[in-house]
């Protein structure tokens, strides 16, 4: 894990311009921003349903993602339209649950549905774990999503393992046919799962200041 952390730091310094524009955040800054962030998230979504709040690290070098797809579980019908549209849109028409960057877990008999979305982590372990630095921050579209460059990806699946150490199921997945990892990139600012969710259970949360979600703030049991 230490190595990964180091790589995270190196990467943000060397690769990402906007990383330098954001000064390191102190715990005090977090408390201020955190409260604002919570108020922002509270609109329509029950935060406790989704989050297990833990302490935020004092330092953060990567720019925060500006958007994240969150789920209001109570509205979800388990129809898996999100999975279908995600794979259709992002895998050039190859539709499959296995290729979806949003993973819907459904207890068919008891009726607990969990649409698991990528948190676009504050400290993305996937990004840190990639041996060839194929995971980058999407500054081009302005979402700052953590995205995989398929040209660089060598299919090592380290990102999947790293994410899986904190999140179940791991959000990056492996596209067997193409031999590359895939993950949520917020559809470059217009997440199709949100657009097509018939119930409005998926919501796209945006903040120009960045959203504080995912590791190390959120961990799943």
């Amino acid at each position: 894990m230490a190595n990964r952390k180091n790589r995270l730091l190196e990467k943000s310094d060397s690769q990402d311009q906007s990383a330098r524009e954001i000064p390191p955040v102190s715990r005090r800054d977090f408390l201020k921003a955190g409260v604002a962030g919570l108020a922002f998230l509270a609109g329509g979504v029950k935060v406790r349903d989704m989050f297990d709040m833990v302490a935020l690290a004092d330092e953060r070098q990567l720019p925060l993602a500006k958007g994240v797809v969150l789920v209001d579980k109570r509205l979800c019908s388990g129809c898996r339209t999100c999975e279908a549209v995600c794979s259709t849109y992002n895998s050039q028409g190859r539709t499959s649950s296995a290729l979806a960057r949003v993973i819907l877990e459904k207890d068919y008999l008891r009726g607990n549905y969990e649409a698991n979305t990528c948190f676009q982590c504050v400290e993305p372990l996937c990004l840190a774990a990639c041996p060839v630095e194929a995971i980058v921050v999407d500054t081009k579209s302005g979402t700052n999503a953590r995205i995989i460059d398929p040209q660089i990806c060598i299919g090592a699946e380290d990102c999947i393992e790293a994410c899986g150490s904190v999140f179940t199921p791991p959000r990056p997945r492996f596209d067997v046919e193409r031999g590359v990892a895939i993950k949520c990139h917020l559809c470059f600012g217009d997440p199709q799962c949100v657009k097509f969710c018939p119930y409005g259970a998926l919501q796209f949360k945006w903040s120009d200041d960045g959203v504080r979600t995912g590791y190390p703030i959120v961990k799943e049991g």
């Binding site: 129809c79 259709t88 499959s96 296995a98 459904k106 008999l109 009726g111 969710c197």
Partner: protein, 671 residues
């Protein structure tokens, strides 16, 4: 291939062998679903094979849309010789929703054709192109839900399974095939057919994908469909749309979740957040609507149920009106699911038993059932148990209501007729909207009678025609079945014109209001059957398609081009709406050829005598000679002869020459 997975799996349970054939042998000609099933059935099932014989095929088939994001594409069809059709077992079909169909496609197969009979209980395990027949001794006797849980322990939670319960194992003609928490292929008795093959389940798991030819076009079409059927939910309430006045549009009038239950004790509990009872949204794969809901609570059997199961025990509401829809009403339907019993047949059996008891035809002693307690808990639990285990009188009922009543004969048989309206050799299916607003005291509408006479099961299972009437009632502010038929006519004129070509299609009654007008019935029936068979072939759900009534627009005109657009975008095989009807027409004739081979003629396209003596809510009647004239015209439109049998010439025009030759060899048509 775009859309189709490309392979059809054939399973010979007698030999324990698999064979894989290319789907391209059948598509795009027969599209998929019911179309492909009909062709396979025509080729493989001998006319004299019984439903429970090893020669019968149990065909599980998906269509080109399954496994894609096309709305309501979670469905598959089951087809084969139906055990339920009475008195003669015959070709039929039954659809099922849930999440099994896309999983089968992702596993690499469009269809599974099962034949033969295993020497002991088995299940079929299909995963990413691999196939295996496995021992199911430990699953035999288990209910469908326990069975699924046991299968998940072996194959993982992501695997989807279709299973049968006790009724299917006992070769009941009321046996259903069930998946997930209550989605079922109910009519036809295919659970019994599956049981006769010693097949407990088909388990599928796939990580492959289905390729869509034109993803952008598909997404645009789907987004449009979604905008017609769904608006995001109001915060905190999945059953209320955020857009004021928006209708979720189930069959034109009903709302999301409304196909589960009705007002009463249970709903009151579910709407109290402190009660511990909940009603939650639930939908089949890729469905924008979510017609049903999931119900759970501390002392009830939780699960998902649609109108058929959840409203199965209406008698409980009649017995305890103060409770309305009660916990018992709910649990009765769930109990049927646990046994794997066709709840729609219980909709026939219960009123028939009630009538027989009231008329003194059947007693408590004859049946061993507490007939004086119909509507109570003991009655329904004993009834369902006896049917499932074929115990005592239940052994007779497991043959289906029509067969049971016929066997008893006399008055008992007569009391059944009112509930099983198609006479002739191919009945056996309980009434389902032979009249608008219900039977026997709703409104006579000529196309409904013609469609009922011609179909090979309960005709209105495809709700497309009647959805316009429900939609109009709803637009006028009534519950779907509570308007006077005359009131609906002005509302449905534009929609009937769009759907069938003339406003006259909406003129059901003579100007004096005393008689029925039949002149548009044959044309309406033709288009109805084409759309129905296409819907079952692509496959989409009849809750949404064809979309003939839009409750959210001013003129309520729908859009019947949606299915062919989805098909074209997914497969890359361009087909206009008009072209699709030509395929639908061909498939109708192919199915009729199958029926003709099994002995069906116009003499079987008839209703019970009482349908012609009964007067509807406005004093009007269906008349035998009107129906016969409408049949003449319908057969002519389809290119069938006056016996209701496709002509050799028409079959050849439809590129079904081999079908023509086979019928000629058999002497069904002259050469």
């Amino acid at each position: 291939m775009n859309g189709w997975a490309g392979k059809i799996l054939r399973v010979d349970l007698t030999q324990g062998k698999f064979e894989i054939i290319p789907t391209s042998d059948y598509v795009p000609t027969y599209i998929g679903g019911r179309g492909v099933a009909s062709r396979i059935y025509w080729e493989e099932v001998p006319a004299d094979a019984g439903a429970f014989d090893p020669e019968n095929r149990l065909i599980f088939v998906t269509g080109p849309l399954q496994g894609t994001m096309a709305p309501t594409s979670g469905r598959f069809m089951v087809a084969g010789k139906a055990a339920q059709t009475a008195p003669v077992e015959a070709y039929c079909r039954s659809g099922c929703g849930g999440h099994w169909a896309p999983e089968l496609k992702w596993a690499g197969f469009d269809a599974v054709v099962v034949y033969g009979r295993a020497s002991k209980p088995v299940y079929i395990w299909i995963h990413d192109g691999e196939t295996e027949i496995r021992d199911a001794s430990n699953l035999w006797g288990k209910d469908p839900f326990t069975t699924q849980e046991m299968l998940w322990e072996v194959h993982g939670k992501e695997a989807r399974a279709v299973t049968i319960g006790k009724a299917g194992e006992m070769k009941s003609r009321l046996g259903i095939i069930i998946t997930d928490s209550g989605d079922a292929s109910g009519q036809g008795g295919y659970g019994g057919v599956m049981g006769s093959k010693n097949l407990k389940a088909i388990v599928v798991r796939g990580t492959g994908s289905i390729k869509v030819a034109r993803p952008k076009e598909l997404m645009e079409a789907v987004y449009y469909v979604r905008s017609l059927f769904s608006s995001p939910s109001k915060p905190g309430s999945p059953f209320e749309p955020s857009e004021p006045g928006f209708k979720y549009n189930i069959w034109g009038g009903l709302d999301r979740g409304q196909l589960t239950g009705a007002p009463g004790e249970l709903w009151t509990l579910c709407s109290d957040p402190k009660s511990g009872y909940e009603r939650l949204p639930d939908a089949c794969f890729a469905c924008p609507i979510g017609c049903r809901s999931r119900v759970r609570g501390p002392d009830i059997t939780s699960g998902v149920a649609q109108c058929t199961q959840s409203n199965m025990y209406i008698e409980s509401i009649m017995k305890y009106p103060e409770k309305g829809y009660s916990k018992l009403t709910w649990e009765a339907g769930r109990m049927a699911d646990y046994y794997g019993i066709n709840a729609y047949e219980i909709h026939g059996i219960n009123p028939w038993l009630t009538a027989c008891y009231e008329e003194g035809v059947l007693t408590k002693k004859d049946t061993g059932l507490p007939l004086d307690e119909i509507g109570g808990r003991q009655f329904i639990s004993e009834l369902l148990r006896k049917i499932a285990l074929r115990e005592g009188f239940g052994d007779l009922l497991a043959e289906g209501c029509q067969r049971a009543a016929t066997k008893l004969g006399g008055k008992a048989e007569e009391l059944m007729w009112v509930l099983y309206p198609r006479a002739g050799k191919f009945g056996g299916y309980r009434e389902h909207w032979l009249y608008y607003a219900g039977f026997p005291d709703g409104y006579a509408i000529p196309p409904l009678a013609l469609i009922w006479a011609l179909d090979n099961r309960d005709a209105m299972v495809s709700h497309n025609f009647v959805s316009q009437l429900w939609g109009a009632a709803s637009s006028l502010g009534y519950p779907p079945n509570f308007a006077e038929a005359e009131e609906l006519i002005p509302v449905v004129k534009p929609t009937m014109k769009y759907a069938y070509g003339s406003e006259k299609a909406a003129e059901f009654f003579t100007p004096d209001g005393k008689g029925l007008k039949w002149d548009w019935a044959p044309r309406v029936a033709k288009r109805f059957f084409e759309r129905t068979i296409l819907k079952d072939s692509y496959i989409v759900c009849d809750v949404a398609f064809p979309f003939l009534y839009n409750p959210n627009s001013k003129d309520h005109v729908g859009d019947s081009s949606l299915e062919s657009r989805l098909f074209s975008a997914v497969t890359g095989v361009d087909m206009t709406e008009e072209e699709s009807y030509e395929v639908g027409d061909m498939l109708c004739t192919l199915e009729r050829a199958i029926q003709a081979r099994e002995g069906r003629t116009r003499d079987d396209d008839v209703l019970r005598d009482m349908c012609y003596t009964n007067r509807d809510a406005a004093g009007r009647q269906y008349r035998r000679d009107d129906l016969e004239r409408a049949k003449d015209e319908y057969y002519k439109l389809l290119g069938w002869d006056q016996r209701g049998i496709p002509t050799a010439q028409r079959l050849r025009e439809l590129k079904l020459s081999d079908v023509a030759e086979a019928l000629q060899r058999k002497g069904v048509i002259s050469s």
